[in-house]
């Protein structure tokens, strides 16, 4: 195999086969994929599956605590897990810029494999395209996944007054780590992305009998986006106690320097959960086994339906709105 990927590797011929077998088949090997049919034949019950798709274009490709490969599997598997389902089958489409390093590609594929194992899922179909230099930024990955529902009825439409809102860990790590890596900000302590597969946590919650009302991983737009979407979809108000929101010192520091708010920063392994008050204790106990920062941050009310309100510890309130446009640092 060449040291770099060339246009020839996307030609559908000999080099293309070499790329697929020596990197993708090698690491993703399973019975369904090995059949190499035009489409994968899957054995899933037709009335309880979920399906989702996501494309990954992160820069830089490798960042503290993860890479685009880990992200591509976590992202899609987490969307499945957030529906109370177990991730089972994924497709993997890769668009590679000509000249990309073969070694880096294999490194990325290897971390995809590792993450698939955590989810007990497999790649059953894939595609590779190589495009001329400048057409993509190094490497884009799309994954589409199918999962089998374990607990039905989880939906953003179901929030009702009195329900409790929980976050699974401290927030904003992925966004802060990417910004720091992109801007070359070096920190004394090592800030890593939270990028992780959430299926094990979801399974643990379901196993102890927590009735999950709504659940969403707080990816782009952060926790603020999830809460706003829920408030609008369920026509309720979500009141958050600002000081309860767990934010690490490193993330706070980056927010202070660049003028961001942690609630708007992306996460890749952090989710928000809405549950009945009687399940709160049980749910937090389970989640704290994975991360001790898991905590309840707010309650569903009807104070301003469709809006999220942040209550400060000194008795003031403000709306928590969706961020608009590009995340840009403030000037003064």
């Amino acid at each position: 195999m060449n040291k770099t990927i060339t246009i020839a590797h996307g030609n559908g011929g000999e080099e293309n086969n070499e790329l697929i077998t020596s990197i993708f088949y090698k690491h993703f090997k399973n019975d369904i994929l090995s059949k190499s049919e035009d489409a994968a034949v899957l054995g899933v019950p037709h009335d309880s599956i979920v399906m989702t798709t996501d494309s990954f274009t992160v820069s830089p490709l490798f960042f503290p605590g993860g890479d685009i490969g880990k992200l591509a599997v976590c992202g899609t598997c987490n969307d499945i897990a957030m529906m109370g389902a177990q991730p089972k089958y994924l497709t993997c489409s890769v668009i590679i810029e000509e000249g990309f390093s073969t070694r880096e590609l294999e490194k990325i594929v290897r971390s995809m494999k590792k993450e698939l194992e955590l989810n007990n899922a497999m790649i059953v179909s894939g595609d590779t395209k190589v495009v001329p230099k400048g057409s993509v930024d190094k490497l884009f990955i799309n994954t589409t996944g199918i999962g089998e529902i374990m607990q039905p009825g989880i939906s953003a439409h179901n929030l009702k007054e009195g329900m409790r809102v929980i976050v699974s860990r401290d927030i904003g790590r992925h966004g802060a780590a990417i910004f720091a890596a992109r801007e070359g900000i070096t920190l004394e302590s090592s800030l890593e992305t939270d990028c992780a597969s959430l299926y094990p946590q979801v399974k643990a919650l379901i196993d102890v009998g927590v009735k999950i009302v709504a659940m969403r991983d707080a990816t782009r737009g952060g926790v603020a986006a999830v809460l706003n979407e829920w408030a609008k979809t369920s026509e309720v108000c979500i009141e958050i106690e600002e000081e309860k929101i767990p934010v690490s010192e490193e993330v706070r520091g980056i927010c202070e320097m660049l003028g961001f708010e942690a609630v708007n920063l992306a996460n890749e392994g952090t989710f928000v959960l809405a549950i009945l008050p009687e399940d709160e204790h049980k749910a937090i106990e389970v989640l704290q086994q994975f991360n001790t920062d898991a905590t309840a941050i707010g309650t569903v009310t009807h104070q301003h339906d469709g809006k999220v309100i942040l209550n400060s510890s000194w008795g003031t309130k403000r709306f928590l709105d969706l961020p608009t446009g590009e995340l840009l640092p403030r000037i003064c």
Binding site: E243, E256, S313, F319, G325, R330
Partner: protein, 383 residues
């Protein structure tokens, strides 16, 4: 000795109990006054803090905020944004600016739009990053579209200083720097006979601390002396702001009219003399700078000295830069809002034609403008 960490610099200044204690002091003092006090926080950073921490909710009824023009992005007139847009589209040009600036629409679109059309537009955290961009792109002209008040002017001056000392020939400047005291005078005592500044409602100013870190507190001395308006130079954390407000209210209770500094931990009367020297070396005052929403304000803007014209993109690209002034919508009342004579909801286009995603007037442009703040937080402020 315990190490100083970043959190030490903000945790104590956001303490809920301290904020409540100041709220109590302010309420007790304000009760002794038989009138409403309108305090203008000049700087957009203060507006942002005041809104983010819900400070109006901690105020008694007779203490009122007027949100000032101190947001460098908001006050940029459209014709100057058009300059940036045109420069970005010149062949072999990389246009560099700070944060929010790339979002603001000019008459043809924003710098973001120019970027989407293929122009090379970049935003940086520090102007010094231009040195690296210029080094990596020797065949391109890097034009730094410089914006900001006294706080960012020294950074532009240092960049120019380095460009000259290192003999770099592919960094140019488009200067849009403005200064705080001159616009404060405009708000309370406009020389423009068409402007109704006599009816302004500003009783006192909360001055931004970072401006005085550079320029010193001396720049505000004339406001209590000549214009009868107390000024308190205050920091940006909520406890700083609350202390600053309580100092202003105290002045009214005790019938004083003075310049005071709340942010004593950094601000001195003289400020940073090295920075001031550097600014004087490279910049002259312009006779008039046009502020969006306020119009022409004498001596309120800077330009490069003639001796440095070869670094001045405004001179070098004169042929292609549009000259005509572009007025905001006739219905826009930003000028009155900035003088405290109207509140955003009194504007007929507020929240309808003029929104944060499609701003028409300066106060809606960035999150630091009064209209944008009302639009975002409004319901909770009035309820």
């Amino acid at each position: 000795m315990a190490e100083l960490e970043l959190k030490n610099l903000y945790d104590d200044f956001r303490d809920g109990k301290t904020l409540q204690a100041y709220a109590k002091i302010i309420a007790e003092d304000a009760a002794k006054l038989d009138r409403t006090i309108n305090i203008m926080e000049v700087c957009g950073g203060h507006t942002h803090s005041i809104m983010k921490y819900g400070i109006p909710q901690l105020m008694p009824e007779n203490i009122n905020f007027i949100h000032g023009p101190g947001c460098p992005v908001c006050i940029m007139p459209k014709e100057r944004i058009d300059h940036a847009y045109v420069l970005a589209q010149q062949p072999d040009v990389i246009l560099v600016t700070l944060g929010d600036m790339i979002k603001v629409p000019g008459s043809n679109g924003s710098l973001q739009d120019a970027r989407a059309k293929g122009a090379d537009v970049r935003f940086v955290y520090s102007p010094m990053e231009c040195l690296k961009i210029a080094e990596e792109n020797p065949d391109k002209k890097v034009i730094f579209f410089a914006i900001g008040f006294e706080t960012t002017i020294p950074m532009t001056a240092v960049l120019l200083d380095q460009v000259i000392k290192q003999g770099i020939d592919n960094i140019l400047f488009h200067i849009n720097h403005v200064t705080v005291p001159e616009v404060m005078v405009e708000l309370i005592d406009s020389r423009d006979e068409h402007v109704d500044s006599y009816n302004n409602q500003i009783d006192a100013f909360l001055g931004p601390s970072h401006v005085s870190v550079i320029a010193g507190s001396k720049i505000y001395e004339k406001f209590p002396k000549e214009y009868g308006r107390p000024v308190v130079v205050s920091g940006f954390e909520p406890v700083d702001v609350m202390e600053g407000i309580s100092m202003i209210v105290k002045q009214f209770v005790e019938n004083r009219c003075e310049l005071e500094v709340q942010y004593k931990r950094v601000v001195t009367r003289e400020g940073n003399l090295n920075a001031q020297r550097l600014i004087d070396t490279y910049f002259d005052k312009v006779d008039l700078f046009r502020w969006r929403g306020l119009g022409n304000v004498p001596k309120s803007g800077l330009k490069l000295k003639e001796a440095y014209a070869k670094y001045d993109a405004e001179v070098l690209y004169k042929e292609v830069l549009p000259l005509a002034e572009i007025e905001d919508h006739k219905l826009c009342i930003c000028g009155d809002i900035l003088r405290g004579m109207a509140k955003p909801p009194e504007c007929t286009i507020f929240g309808t034609a003029c929104k944060p995603t499609t701003p028409i007037g300066s106060c809606m442009v960035s999150s630091e403008g009064a209209c944008a703040a009302y639009y975002k937080y409004g319901n909770l402020i009035t309820s």
